[in-house]
Symmetry: C2
Subunit: 665 residues, 2 copies
């Protein structure tokens, strides 16, 4: 199995081995496995659950606490009307094709991609080149293997490659045309699938006993934040700008989930909605703190030119050169970068890619994704979209709720304008049931129209107005019923709908990419290929310390107990492994569980009360008394010190680690 | 408005006022309020969200870390088969009645309760007694008000009261009979509702694009833990007993949600599944640590005798006297009690009530609820059920997965038994397609049957066996096809299905009850009735410290910034309020937000760098330099010291707090 992905130490990454480790150690497991599972649903076991909780904890400190965001926790169940208004009922869909022979449902873009890739692979084989496997999952691999070695014309190869490069940008009709044009057939049946139809990705349900209230599981946490905007602004004592934030599950009924944790039907999101005055130029008060952070950027223009060549530049420079549109967007890109760095993502495997115009969600006017490089390719893990005033506007329009900011103007605004005065008492009797319609039509006139109407009224004593649905569509109104005059109005308050910058984190994707980035095998250090290590930073490692008594000897018990208690009191999670396996096996198991530190209790401990502390990554050890070791652990967990510092401070322990050949205990 | 509920200080609790406060300060708000909301769905705003996160944090430390539980995070979406097997598809239902006139859907037990209570109220009025309002929610109150003052016979009053006391114990037919018998009519229409039908409380949806895989939103987190049992046991290195734990949302499609946060359709649960060997007598290794904890108990027998008189006794005594069935159950009741105490629940408002036999969930064989006293009465907030081997057994049976423990026997078990040997080669040709059926029937025989069959075989050379569906239902088999002999078998391994003790926490209910328990008004101290206080303990208070600069004077800015930074670094959440409101108003706002400490920065700060620290509950203040105040805050938050200690250590500050009359800023 070959992929271009590498481990932390630059070794070729064997995804099958890593995946085996992650399942064996219960980082995650397919949900309802004993019932043969459901595609796209996964459970986190203890280490996955611990890692997830620690990532969330760092996220909350980095964003919510550091920036005083207003965290909310909203309902997942969402009534139809809310998602109809937000546009999700109409637009939140993928394209699917049905195979008329076996009824299989295919995701249209994936289907086109799979068949064209298989043909290109067949072409390479026919040309005698070793096919480079761009392997996305086992299923696809199987399909590719079934491909025949047929040579294609050079022009066809180029055409296919161009289609694949733009695969995310086709709509349903276009995908249907590609299927026809290239005569694409489902390898399973040999027949052409039916034309693509839209499949809405929201899970639907009924709320209440009558079955009449239709609802969905939310596809994002954002809507809960938007509909609460007025209350949040009030809670924030009417002060702008501010951000709300939410951590919670969302749901997308993927047509055919694949790629493990990367494309699932139920997932944890962490989303920020930063509300900003659009007239401020989307400046950010803390931008100066971030302007020197360097980012790797792949902008829209570069991609349009068919290139994936990235630029490395500071955020300050990027905003200055308008590669990134504004300070607030730039500020958050830098903050996202720092967050990913903090949890241990490989700096060489992050890039920020701007969405192409036709790739954006229906609500976005600009979007940058933080993509992480994995064995599945570059994967979108954080989206940072400028949703403009879209959501607040549509909800306000639909409900009449004032989702806007009212601000006292420092300088009152003086406006010269044409105003319409209506003699309502005379209006009703004349127009009867049409009175209201005519009135609305009059008040809806623009300044230009009013100027013309005022002129007409002055000259003829009457005005003629188009009012659809009343009489013959034209209404005459005389000057004793309506006056139109130019007057001065003074506005002391400004009203505006804030714009929204939304950094949105897929926690499961980040977690999986992080695991790939932190994985390596001891073969790199000349050790056993079968000994895998997950070098998660102590901050996010599920368990910080493994405590290992040398044997089941009762003399070790009080020491084990005492150290556990002290670590727990210091808020440091630890596990005791007093099983009968060798020390080496027990450490190997915990290397796979990403436990960064290990304490051994041995006969010397009983004599002089010293214990050894082992570093997961180097397997080197120091030996000192309990208090010094616990202080060393504390400083490592809090990131104040690195292992090298500890080796400088405490005596090295050379007692060799037992060599194990059979690591998978 | 009168209720029997009281505030923290024993004042009568006005729920309307408290509810107003909680909504105004955005502890919670009805979800999708601008869309007129959906019954039974609530969002938590920033303080509610913070309180919830802190309760969860204490829970995780108290249970998961302290007891080394295996935390998992499983899918909410659950396929039909899993919940069919667990019994939820068939049994997880409430009874509902439809009003034939207006189509209104009524929850049957609530309907009977409402109408009978209204009649009893009318009777009291007719007798000239002041009706004691047992008010459960505003809707019910309205219905009661509509009741006519009609005197009932004494016997009828007694009958109604007996029905109400047992209202949770009727099934659908019985509720239907009560409606007929007492001629109960829907007050809204004056007609009798249709007979009760079962309404399953699970939200249903379709998974995947074909629409053929039916699924539900989980009604509890437990099933995800059960189906993973084998993997969890493996992760725990085959060691028993152990517990898994999970924190996550569950869903119940309530027929008519009411009582605010107490009966909702989407809610956060924290559940523990403690797996124990049933042959161990459900002993618990750490029981001795809990045996002196005193609990208030209301057992099944007391309730059967029509009484609600509680007993106060230690857990040790309760288990000894078999009031509580076993050590593990007793251990968890005590641990639950300590958890509730830790987060600030009023000790006088907790009791543990045992379920009546007919009140238990379909999977439980014993259950104790931790009930908290609120203005809605005693409310179940934690259930502690003995689910026996029910769930693991049904899932194992359905899927064939080995959800059991295999243990090496210390002493091998020697078994004398009748064994059946079948000559399979001859069996097939003789019975043809029925061969397998006959074989299974033979192997399914009991020891007693085998003894008889062996005798028959010895005496006649043939045996006769009942095999339904084969021939005439009787099959003759001769001794050259089958032998039955008594032999000795030695078993070195013991296999058993663990029993489960399940403490299950409704976080939203606990959160609401806690808010009621911590609420009071300054009228108690001779202050303003309108000044409300939420005295949440610092451990769970959403924000720990409010920082208040005296005015907008720029001289205060560096101090405000410096203190915020230092507190944040110490991991203590704080908020700055530099609004133009008076100091008193700003403190009042934060009394309502439950912020336990306040720091004022004034002109003296600029001169001598001292700041004042205010205690929310007493409103008293001390004044000292920054470091001393921060150390005092740290010790208060960690629970090392109480305010009285701080007053002993630091100089009292007598600068009086500005009196405010208009507290609701």
């Amino acid at each position: 199995m070959t992929t271009t992905a590498t481990t932390l130490k630059g070794q070729p990454l064997d995804r099958g081995v890593l995946d085996g480790l992650l399942r064996r150690r219960m980082f995650y497991t397919p949900s309802f496995d004993i019932y043969e599972g459901v595609k796209g649903l996964y459970d986190y076991g203890p280490p996955g659950c611990g890692l997830q909780a620690n990532i969330i904890d760092v996220w909350r400190k980095h964003f919510v606490l550091e920036e005083d965001m207003l965290e909310v926790d909203c309902s997942v169940l969402t009534p139809y009307e809310v998602l109809k208004t937000s546009g999700h009922v109409d637009k939140f869909a993928d394209w699917m094709c049905k195979d008329p022979k076996n009824g299989e449902i295919l995701r249209a873009d994936h289907f086109v991609e799979d068949v064209l890739e298989a043909r290109l692979k067949g072409d390479k084989e026919a040309r005698g080149q070793k096919a480079e496997e761009k392997e996305k999952d086992a299923k696809r691999k199987k399909k590719q293997k079934a491909a025949e070695a047929v040579k294609l014309d050079d022009a066809v190869v180029q055409e296919y490659e161009e289609v694949l490069a733009r695969i995310d940008n086709y709509n349903g009709d276009e995908l249907g045309e590609l299927i026809k044009k290239y005569d694409l057939k489902n390898p399973a049946t040999g027949v052409e699938p039916e034309p693509p139809v839209a499949f809405n990705l929201m899970f639907q349900t009924k709320i209440g006993p009558s079955g009449q209230l239709s609802g969905f599981l939310r596809p994002e946490t954002a809507q809960g934040q938007f509909v609460n905007f007025a209350k949040l602004l009030e809670y924030n004592q009417q002060t702008m700008p501010f951000a709300s934030a939410s951590i919670g599950r969302s749901y997308r009924n993927e047509i055919s989930p694949r790629s493990g944790l990367l494309r699932v039907r139920e997932f944890l999101m962490a989303e920020i909605e930063h509300f900003v005055d659009p007239q401020s130029g989307k400046k950010h008060p803390r931008f100066h703190e971030m302007e020197n952070i360097e980012l790797v950027l792949l902008d829209r223009h570069t991609q349009s030119a068919g290139s994936t060549k990235v630029k490395t530049m500071t955020v300050g420079q990027a905003v200055k050169e308008r590669v990134v549109d504004n300070e607030t967007l730039g500020y958050f890109l830098a903050r996202i970068h720092l967050f990913l760095k903090k949890i241990g993502v490989d700096q060489k495997k992050i890039r920020f890619r701007q969405h192409m115009a036709n790739e954006m969600a229906h609500y976005a006017c600009d979007c940058w994704d933080a993509e992480l490089l994995t064995s599945y390719g570059w994967i979108e893990c954080v989206g940072c979209a400028d949703r403009s005033a879209y959501d607040l506007s549509v909800h306000a329009k639909r409900t009449g709720a004032p989702l806007l900011v009212r601000e006292r103007r420092e300088e009152p605004l003086v406006i010269e304008e044409w105003q319409v005065d209506i003699q309502k008492k005379k209006f009703g009797p004349l127009f009867k049931k049409d009175g209201k319609t005519v009135e609305t039509a009059l008040l809806d006139t623009s300044q230009e129209q009013r100027e013309a109407l005022a002129k007409e009224l002055g000259e003829t004593g009457n005005l003629t107005l188009d009012v659809a649905g009343v009489g013959d569509g034209k209404v005459q109104i005389s000057k004793d019923l309506v006056q139109i005059e130019r007057r001065t109005r003074v506005e002391h308050t400004r009203e505006y709908t804030p714009n929204v910058i939304e950094p949105s984190f897929g926690i499961g994707r980040i977690l999986y990419a992080l695991l790939e980035h932190c994985y390596w095998t001891r073969a790199h250090d000349g050790g056993d290929e079968a000994r895998s290590v997950l070098s998660l930073p102590p901050t996010v490692a599920p368990t910080k310390v493994l405590i290992v008594p040398l044997s089941a000897n009762k003399a070790f018990d009080p020491f084990t107990k005492d150290i556990s208690l002290k670590l727990r009191k210091a808020g440091i999670s630890c596990k005791v492994d007093d099983s009968s396996a060798t020390i080496g096996k027990r450490y190997s198991r915990n290397d796979e569980l990403a436990t960064p530190m290990g304490i051994t209790i041995d006969f010397q401990t009983v004599q002089d009360k010293t214990i050894t502390l082992r570093d997961r990554d180097s397997t080197r050890q120091v030996r000192a008394d309990e208090d010094k070791v616990i202080e060393a652990i504390r400083s490592l967990v809090e990131g104040d010190k690195a292992w090298a510092d500890i080796e400088n401070e405490l005596p090295i322990f050379e007692g060799q680690e037992v060599v194990v050949t059979e690591a998978k205990s």
